[in-house]
Structures are given as structure tokens and as C-alpha cells.
Amino acid sequence: MSDAAAAVQHHGPPQGFLRKYVFSLDHKVIGKQYYGLALVAVFTGMFLSWLMRFHLVWPNAAIPGLQWLSRVGAPGGVMTPEYYLSLLTMHGTLMVFFVLTNAPFAAFGNYFLPIQIGAEDMAFPRFNMMSFWTTFAAFLALMTAFFIPDGPPISGWTAYAPLSAVGPDAGPGLGWGQNCWAISIALFCVASLLGSLNFIATTLDLRAKGMTLMRMPICTWAWFITSCIALLAFAVLLPACLLLILDRIAGTSFFIPAGLVVSDRLQPHAGGSPLLWQHLFWFFGHPEVYIAILPAMGIVSHILINSMRKPLLSHKVVIGSMLSIGFLSYMVWGHHMFLSGMNPFSALVFSFPTLIITIPATVLTLIWLGSLYGSNLQITTASLFSLGFISMFVSGGVSGFFLAQPSIDIYLHATYFVVGHFHLVMGVAAIFGIFAGTYFWFPKMTGRMMNETLGKIHFWFTFVGAYCIFMPFHYLGLAGNVRRYSSFVDDFMAPLMPVHKFITIAALFTGAVQLVFLFNLIYSRFKGAPAPDNPWNATSLEWTIPSPPPWDNFGGKHPVVYHDPYQYGVEGASADFIMQTSPEKLPEKS
């Protein structure tokens, strides 16, 4: 590293408690803040799912203490049907926005993207700080809904108009609860736009010497592609939220048509289009799925390569597949709306790219599988979760074949089949990516190793548990069990109750296992074995610096990159891996 030049920092070392830990400009602190927020959100969201699953199978049983959460929503601890829907909305919103967008993308991306490209910080540290605190404000705005007398909105995380737009007449939580939701999401959009802008500019402009685009690790690529998707997706959701807020508080009629009689009151609106909300929402909503899953794909690839001690079959094909997924994600939003009353021809138009998107997804899966062949696989908790990710991604992916076809969607739309599909493919798979990333990068982020035994216990129960929860959802869907019901009063759903009971017990158990993870996280943070700089013998730049990294990452030096990111198992090299910054010359290929 003889030609590493002395750097001039964007900002000096942080001074004082506030600058260091609260309003920090350091991307690493911001990344951890995002991670912490996601952790709070994921445990809240999981707790809500416990309550919902419990209510579904024991609708009349009291949950002790629930009346303290909401006296109206759960008198005596027994949840009302509307409170079930409130929790459903909050579960979905928390998980999709504050967990699946925040953790793999904003948290890990913030922490590791600048390091992996050899920069000392994000391009715009101030924007970065603003984007976290705006996200935090969005989180507070959302949580406020719990403290409103009639509770959070009951319109689901998709907030379909006009249910979400006509106001309190339509049901509990649709007054200020829904306003909180809309304001929260609008703030979240602003934060994500700022964040994506930062990611893109950082990736394009702050790469170290020698760090060409193709030398960036796969997860850097994933974050970069994700930020491009997020930039355009959130730029559409933001106006949609603004229009929704105006419909709700200013009396406009963007989404509310004429002649609606809600609660015996003729609504004073005219001419709006409920389908407009759906189009705008899903134009964001479908890319959002890839915002959740692409970073997980990147993280998992990054970890797998390290565990296999050999690179993927093709760096370029993986990146190309991710790029084409990102590109196609904008052409498929209509598959959420096959039965929504849009032109039936457009259903066919949207069905086709949806099916096409399985091609890059299959290519990725085949590349992962094909790369495993002939590898020297090391089993760590991180690699277990990565392998689990592949399994989950496949399981959740194949059900997409059904839902992509409008004719089958007639039967399966709005059933538990859909719930099983998206929970596996974007929920569990992305969370496995987050877990893998956590076990892999925890040593770098904290300077301490996580406990592998606890980690493996966590993995096995989570892996089997997740299948026990989400596979049966598909069977329910095939039987026509409708989603978003707070209890199953229809005759044909009664025989399905044993399946629901099984799912609930699995969910309570698997949820409880997550406490092992939480314990491991907190215990290892303080008591874990000290981590070396490069515990996994990995090649990318984050492993060239101390654990945890100094505030300016590279200690005032500029790293110089000589190699592709994954030089593992190079024949004739001095070790089984060559770091990106190592000036070692690669042996000539014979």
C-alpha cells in the first residue's frame, strides 16, 4: 500500500456525545442506528404477528395485558375484529418499510458500501444523517397510531382507497390513525430518496483507486442497484401519499368516486379513481419487493463465496441478473391488480414480464447451486443462513409461477397462498439475508465475535420453524382460505382450523427462538470473544481495516485495489485467498 495517499476527511473526528452517537455524520454509526431501528421494528412486528396468530385460532381467549395496549381494541384482553385489522396494518407496514427496507439496504448498505469501495464516508454525510432521522420520525409517526383512541388504521399496509381515503366513517382507525400512517409513509419516502441519492453518488464517485465497477463486491452492486430502484419507486409513492393525505384532510377527490354511501352518509366527493391509488401504490409496491430481496441476494452471495472458498461461476452474470431483475421490476406492478377491474388485456400484458422475471431469478439460483459444486464449503452460522436463504428463495419463488398467471390468480388471489408466497420469498428469505449479514459482519461492526453455538441453535429452529409456518399457508390458499379475516366464520374454512392451529404454534415457537438471537446479539456485543481484523479470511476491503473500524475507516489512507473482489482458491497463489488490496501478482493462467 505504498502509494496510498493521505486523505482529507469530509468531516473531522466526531466531538461530543451528540455528534458521536446521536446526530452522527459517520456512515457506520448511521448504519448501526438503522440496524437498531430495524431491530425494534422487527420485534414489534413479530409480537403483533403473535397476537394475530393467537387471535385467529383462539378468538375468544383473553391475552393478558392486551387491554393495556388498547382499551377499545381489546376490552378485557380479547381482541376485536377491527383491532385485528389494525395490528395487521401495523405488522405489514413495520415489516415492509422499517425492517425489509431498512435492515438489508439502509443498515448494512450504509455501514459497508463506503468501506467496500474504499471510501471514508458517504458522499453526503449530512444527507445521510437527515435520512436516518427522517426515517426515525416516520417510525414515531407510525407508532403514534397505537396511542390514538380508535387505534391504528384497519386498511392494511396497501391502504386501498377509498377505504383509506374517506375518513372515520369507514371504520375505526381510519381517522387520525390513517393520517399517521400516510404521514409516516410520506416521511419514509423522503428519507429513502435522500438515502438512495447518497448511495448512488457514493458508488459512482468515491471508489478507491483501482476499484472499477466490475471489481465491486456483489453486495455493493446489489445496494447500488437497489438504490436505483428505490430512487424511482419512492419518488412515485411520495406523490401518492400526498394525494391521499389531501383526500383525507383537504376534501379533494383524487381516489374517491362519486355516490359512495359509507355508514349511511353520502360522501361529499366526486369523480376520483380508486384504481389510480392501486396503480401508483403498486408501481412502488412491486419494486419494493426487490428493494427487500436484492440486498439479501447480494449479502448472501458475498458470504457464500467466502464460505465456499471459491468465487461464483460468473461475477458478470450475477450482476447482469440483478440488473435485469431491477429493470423488469418496473413492468410488472399490474400483476397485483389482475382482478381489480383494470382492462383484462392488461392482465396478459403484465403477466408476461412477471413470468420473464423468473428467468434472471432462475439464473441466480442455478449460479448459486452450480458454484456450490466442487467447493470447499465451510459451515458457519452465516453460511447456514445463506444456504437457508437459497432454499427459502426457491420455495417462495416457485409459488410465484401460479400467481403470475391471471387465470390461476382468479382462484388464488387474496388467499393464504399469496400470504405464503410473499412471506417466504421476500419476508423470510430477506430476513435470512439479514441474519446471515449479521453473523458475518458482527465482528467487524463491534470488534467481537458472535457465539456460534447459539447462532446454530438459532438457525436450525428458525429454518425448520419458518417452513412449518409458511408452507401450510400454501395449502390453506389452495383450499381457498381468504386472507385478512380476523376469524373464520365461513363453513368451508372450519375444517382448516387444525392447519391454522399448527401454524400458530409454530409461529409462537419460532418467534420465541428469535429471543436467542437477541440474547446472542446483546451478549456478544459486550462479552463476545475479541474479533480479529479478518476472522473469515475474506478478500474485500472491509476486512483490511481494524474491527471495529476507526471513524475514518482507512485511518486517513486511501486503499488501492489490485484485484477482482473474490480471489479465492487461486492456484499458485501465496494463500487460498488474495485480498483486493494485496499487490500480489496473480499467477498466469496456463
Binding site: F124, L231, L243, P535
Partner: protein
């Protein structure tokens, strides 16, 4: 796992230089002048703000594209689409905003000329910068007058879809213009310091943003005139 490798093996890097393979953005991270001396800073290769501004403009474009498509869909579903006579002052506002772009261009030239010591004084540059700021403020005030005029005709935000879209589009644009004014204010402040800390990239970004506001407004005027 195996033992830790803290430092890569020390091998003389000199013969390896050709294998560096391009410098992907490399070199951008090179040191910047510490003293904030404008002349030196202005000669530097691309800075993130140069990329960032285009990314930001892309997001704003996308946002207004979403508004436009909402407008088209909403018009398609409407039985209550009533054409709206645009307040005349909008044409004047358009002219003012376009004029401010011209003054800003002149300001950029003056700043460059001052920095390179090619004749322009700092006072001259400040004057055009200030007039750009002033024109921007006049534009926002003019938009406010347009809203007042509509209100006086009994057209409020909820009156009909046309008035709704009018207020939404003009207000969102005005908010973005205010953001641009904030940027210009920052530029002016940095330029006004005894030792200017203004970077060329910052000035350029603020200028691109400002011109984009003008182009966006012309586009919006066209949409308003055509559709509302």
C-alpha cells in the same frame, strides 16, 4: 476458521501498475485543497455533488411523472372535469423564472471571471447572484398571488379536480423552488466570505437545479394549459 491475516504479503507493487485496470472513479478521492482557496478547488475533478444533482433531478422528474400520470388517469375517470382559466399572472411568473435562469448564468460567468482574475469584481458577481435570488422570491410570491386569485373566484383545492391538481402541482413545484433558493443562498453565503469557500461543483449543482426548476415549470405550464 484459520488464523487471521492482518497485512497482505509485502510485494513490490511497482511492476503491477498496468494491472490496475482503469480507475473506476479512482483518483476522485484525491486530497482537496485545505485552505478553501477557490481557485484551487474549482479545478478539481468530479465531485459527488456533480453526480448527486443529476440523481436528485431524476427523482424529481419521476415524481412529477407520477403526478402527470395521476392527472391523466384522474381525467379519464372524471365526469366533473371543468376547464379552468389559468390566472394571467402565471405567464408573468414564467417570464420571471426564465429571466432568473439568465441572471444565474450571468452570475456563473461573473464568478468564474472573478476567480480567474479576468476582470469581474466580487461585487458584480454578488449583484447578479442577488438578483437571481430576488427574482426567485418574486416568482414564489407571484405563485401565491395566483392562488389568491383562484380563491377569490371561489376555486379552492377541493372545488373540482382541476383546481385540486392546480394547487398540488404548483405547490409542490413552489416547494422545490424554495429548496433551490436555499441552495442559491448557500452559494451566495459561501461566495461572500472573505476567503470564498464556494466550490465550482456546488455552484454548478445549484445552477443545474435552478435551470431544471425553470424547465419543469414550463412543462407544468404546458400541462396546466392543456389539461386543466
Amino acid at each position: 476458521m484459520a488464523t487471521t491475516v492482518h497485512e497482505p504479503p509485502k510485494i513490490d507493487p511497482a511492476p503491477l501498475q498496468p494491472s490496475l485496470g482503469g480507475n473506476g472513479g479512482g483518483g476522485v478521492n484525491l486530497p482537496l485543497a485545505r485552505d478553501g482557496e477557490l481557485r484551487e478547488l474549482m479545478e478539481r475533478p468530479p465531485e459527488p455533488v456533480r453526480t448527486g444533482i443529476w440523481v436528485g433531478l431524476a427523482a424529481i422528474t419521476m415524481m412529477f411523472a407520477a403526478f402527470t400520470s395521476a392527472l391523466i388517469v384522474r381525467q379519464g375517470s372524471a365526469v366533473d372535469w371543468e376547464h379552468l382559466a389559468l390566472p394571467r399572472i402565471l405567464y408573468l411568473n414564467t417570464a420571471i423564472l426564465l429571466l432568473s435562469s439568465l441572471t444565474l448564468e450571468s452570475a456563473r460567468r461573473k464568478v468564474a471571471s472573478f476567480v480567474r482574475g479576468q476582470g469581474a469584481t466580487r461585487g458584480q458577481a454578488m449583484q447578479v447572484l442577488a438578483s437571481t435570488l430576488g427574482l426567485g422570491l418574486v416568482f414564489v410570491a407571484g405563485q401565491y398571488v395566483a392562488w389568491l386569485q383562484l380563491r377569490s373566484k371561489g376555486l379552492y383545492i377541493a372545488t373540482n379536480p382541476n383546481s385540486s391538481f392546480f394547487y398540488v402541482l404548483t405547490a409542490v413545484h413552489a416547494i422545490h423552488v424554495l429548496g433551490g433558493l436555499g441552495g442559491l443562498l448557500l452559494v451566495t453565503r459561501r461566495f461572500a466570505r472573505t476567503v470564498p469557500t464556494l466550490r465550482k461543483s456546488t455552484l454548478d449543482a445549484a445552477a443545474y437545479y435552478w435551470h431544471f426548476m425553470g424547465i419543469l415549470w414550463v412543462y407544468l405550464m404546458f400541462v396546466l394549459w392543456l389539461k386543466l
